[in-house]
């Protein structure tokens, strides 16, 4: 039985606004075969697969019915996690820890250009009380942004700074398409989508796929010299109705982080974590989420950003990749965060590699209206990372 699980290889085939020239199978095959080649692994050596996609995004009931050949699932065990890619990593880890598998291929794919994003997102709202109001992901996020910004007196300039940082960082990231050197002023000059969120502050539908390989402790070194261990994992889901929640804080993320930290033995996240990749679907989340992750006090996300600490050359880089705003589709976005964090630990992040050594990195993913469902993974390059798995949920004293 494996006590811990490592990421032993990652692959991104690059996201674009539209990959009209490619069928989903072509996209997935390019991605998975790219990973296999990088690892020097045969498909027959892959034990099982967790894929992440959504029926609604793919326009197909059972979205994973399109890809079994392209991902190598012929006569294999495959499971589709219909949520965020970060959760697929969590589930892949769980499958290995169960002892049944020694490794697990995790992939995420989406071609959002094929569907109508806001129409699809509207279907996430219950048909009895909410759907007829026209709600979608952008509107839900705008309601959260207003609540957060009002409570902590955050200005539009401050959220625009977060967008400017993300898009400017993304300009150096070859796997995304939306990056450009841009100022907060230019962000504020972009079209207002749903106040207070401007177009350049909101994620853009995209096409893409990415994959990573997980392996048990016993098998990890067979595939790499430098496994990145999953030291902690936690997830949580909060209330569905926006009015049930305190929208000015991300309670589920706080809980997910607490669990991941407990498992990883992290007591002072702001000191112990070297780098963060978070899912900034909207600019204000890059201010709000560090608060929930315990990297700064509530309401101090904007001050943290302004301090420069979270810049790529700062003490605690956040999203040197630019994050989701740089251009990742849903599902793929969370898995990309995990891949970016792992690559930073191994010094393999190319021209977005941060200068400081990265030993412990945090990756966060979410899905649902205003980040209802949250997942946090703590990654470690240290081979001496706690070898024992602590349950992220079991109560103390419970044997």
């Amino acid at each position: 039985m494996s006590n811990r699980v490592a990421i032993v290889g990652t692959f991104q085939s690059g996201c674009e606004r539209e990959k009209r020239g490619r069928h989903i199978t072509e996209l997935v095959y390019e991605t998975v075969s790219g990973l296999m080649k990088k690892l020097g692994m045969e498909m027959s050596q892959v034990d099982n697969i967790v894929s992440c996609s959504q029926d609604f995004l793919d326009g197909r009931t059972i979205s994973n019915r399109t890809i079994p050949e392209a991902e190598g699932a012929y006569l294999k065990s495959e499971a589709k996690l219909a949520g965020d890619g970060s959760q697929a990593v969590f589930y892949g880890m769980i499958r290995i820890l169960s002892g049944k598998y020694q490794n697990c291929l995790v992939l995420a794919h989406a071609k959002m250009s094929e569907g109508s994003q806001n129409v699809i997102a509207n279907a996430m709202f219950d048909p009895i009380y909410q759907r007829a109001l026209g709600l979608d992901e952008i509107i839900a996020a705008a309601l959260q942004a207003r609540a957060y910004m009002t409570r902590y007196k955050i200005t539009p300039e401050q959220t625009a700074e977060a967008a400017a940082k993300a898009l400017t960082s993304a300009a150096r990231n070859k796997n995304v398409f939306r990056g450009k050197k841009i100022s907060a002023k230019q962000v504020l000059a972009s079209k207002m989508l749903s106040s207070p969120i401007h177009e350049l502050e909101a994620f853009m539908p995209a096409d893409g796929a990415c994959a990573l390989m997980l392996a048990s402790e016993q098998q990890a070194f067979k595939w790499t010299k430098s496994p990145v261990w999953i030291a902690g994992a936690g997830s949580a889901i909060e209330q569905y109705y926006l009015g049930d929640r305190d929208l000015s804080s991300a309670a589920a993320l706080k809980e997910a982080a607490k669990r991941a930290y407990k498992m990883a033995g992290i007591r002072h996240p702001e000191k112990e974590i070297d780098l963060v990749e978070l899912s900034n679907y909207f600019s204000f989340q890059e201010l709000m989420y560090p608060e929930a992750l315990g990297l700064c006090a509530p309401g101090k996300g904007a001050a943290l950003l302004a301090s420069g600490k979270t810049m790529a050359d700062g003490k605690l880089p956040v999203n040197p990749s630019g994050g989701v705003l740089g251009g990742n589709p849903l599902c793929v976005s969370g898995l990309t965060r995990v891949i970016e964090a792992a690559d930073q630990i191994n010094g393999e992040a190319g021209n977005i590699q941060v200068k400081k050594p990265v030993k412990i990195a945090l990756a966060q993913g979410s899905y649902g209206p205003a980040g209802q469902s949250q997942c946090v993974l703590v990654l470690s390059g240290d081979a001496k990372v706690k070898a024992k798995v602590n349950s992220p949920v079991r109560k103390k004293g419970k044997k």
Binding site: R20, G21, G59, N118, V119, N122, P127, I128, Y129, Q130, R131, A132, L133, G134, L135, D136, I138, I139, A142, L143, Q144, A145, R146, A147, T150, K191, M192, L193, S194, S195, P196, I197, Q239, Y241, L242, G243, D244, L247
Partner: protein, 163 residues
């Protein structure tokens, strides 16, 4: 017919694109709790919340069970029909899913007096500039009501003299 058909296959950079529209007339059971709530909107122009016997939380919109303790809910609480805006947004883009396709509309989370959770709905008779978190609002009902959430036309700010 041929013309209409040919729209279904588009070619972009030599790649064929198949255009399809999933069309299904979904018809959702509202269930007894939501039905009762919607009937009160329709027949009495009243808004009811529902109280958890254990947690004492008054939920709006009403639901069958409490998410925290899973108790069944059946204690109805008539709400006064006024409340405060907790958050709001003006939507500036058009989408087929928007109510009656206005170019711009305002959505808000509104906590009605007597309820512990907020209801998401539209705000009318006010520009965005006239609203803030904390603005007092009241519901405006449609004249012809059908037993759905849009029987509330929108909420509007309570002007002095009308409160």
């Amino acid at each position: 017919m041929a013309e209409q058909k040919s729209k279904k296959v588009k070619a972009i950079d030599e790649t064929l694109i198949s255009h399809q529209v999933l069309q299904v007339p979904f018809n959702y059971s509202a269930g007894p709790v939501a039905s009762r709530f919607l009937i009160a909107l329709r027949d009495e122009k009243k808004i009811f919340g529902i109280r958890c016997p254990q947690c004492k939380v008054v939920y709006l919109p009403p639901r069958g069970n409490c998410g925290k303790c899973l108790s069944a809910l059946d204690e109805w609480v008539e709400l006064k029909g006024r409340g405060k805006i907790q958050s709001f947004t003006k939507v500036n883009y058009q989408e087929s899913t928007h109510p009656s396709h206005p170019e711009q509309f305002i959505l808000a989370v509104i906590k009605l007096d007597g309820a512990d959770t907020g209801l998401t709905h539209m705000v009318g008779e006010a520009g965005e500039d006239e609203l803030e978190v904390g603005t007092l609002v009241e519901p405006v009902f449609r004249e012809y009501r059908k037993g759905n959430i849009l029987d509330i036309k929108y909420f509007r700010p309570i002007k002095k003299g009308r409160a």
